[in-house]
Assembly symmetry: C2
Homo-oligomer: 184 residues x 2
């Protein structure tokens, strides 16, 4: 790794922590620079500005993280369990995605209808056609509820609860898988 | 209404719009003062500061709004439908609650385990004991998933979609009620 790449990596890591904690408006570029042991100007040179730095962080963690959890349309309870695991292991990811929803909703003209989502809907439609899975729901409805259930406990969610309150992660995971099984 | 009460009401309304749009860190007290046609100092006199003003707004809209949607433990699909309706009619409420989750999580020592939530869990446990409703889940699990499903479409949610993308509100509501029926 070149020295520039190493600096960029340190900036991205520091920016992940800062944005996950404070969001875009609340984040401070000088705190990121200090945590990354990098010159503040380098952040502007490499990433143009705070908003673009947020986009880079989001892309790294949501597009290449959450979206890459293997999607198994013929095993939606298993998929919900894996989404639950991913978010338990990476609490910062749902916080980043939620800040994005709140702070950049007006800029996201697709409204979250990403190519990754479209591919999942298409795969789901094919499985539904083949075996009548979850026939009471459209692919869009199924995917929305599977994710809604998998993320329902998440503390960033309005109905969520932190891991320190109520049941432990193992019980929560079991309940998520069971709930998606009921859905189908 | 006294003149002071009228000013307070205008400040609360302007603060609702500002906090729903920008969150706590992003909100500007002078924008709130301008929108409320009030002197900025009065905001500090009446509400102490920006954080306390946010708490007042949250209390008005979440505690006395979302929490007051009639809870019917023996008709959870109906409850989910009403929560869906409330959030469709008041898009600002879930935004406010979500900002609160993101920006004040460290201050909320109860982690969202409010007296209103406790009362719902108790009522749910009584119904489950009586008629075996949703016997595969604890009251906490049921309530979490019912809310997770009712709010799954909400654009503030990671898996949500704005009303302009995909199916309309009527189809979404039907699917929410049906999904909770499957859960039980």
């Amino acid at each position: 790794m070149s020295r520039a790449d190493a600096t960029k990596a340190r900036i991205l890591q520091a920016a992940t922590d800062e944005f996950a904690a404070y969001g875009i408006a609340g984040a401070r570029v000088d705190r990121i620079a200090k945590a990354a042991s990098a010159n503040k100007n380098l952040i502007y040179v490499y990433f143009c500005g705070k908003e673009q730095l947020f986009d880079a962080v989001l892309d790294a963690h949501v597009t290449h993280g959450l979206d890459s959890v293997p999607f198994t349309p013929d095993d939606l309870p298993g998929y919900a369990g894996r989404i639950f695991d991913y978010c338990t292991e990476h609490p910062e990811v749902i916080r980043l995605a939620t800040w994005h929803r709140l702070e950049r909703a007006d800029l996201d003209l697709t409204g979250g209808a990403s190519p990754a989502r479209e591919a999942k809907l298409e795969a789901l439609a094919a499985v539904q056609k083949k075996n009548g899975l979850g026939a009471d729901f459209s692919p869009e409805e199924l995917l929305t509820f599977v994710l809604g259930i998998a993320l329902a406990w998440n503390p960033s969610n309005v109905a969520g609860l932190p891991a320190t309150v109520g049941t432990g992660a193992e019980d929560r995971r079991r309940a998520v898988v069971e709930a998606v099984r009921h859905l189908l």
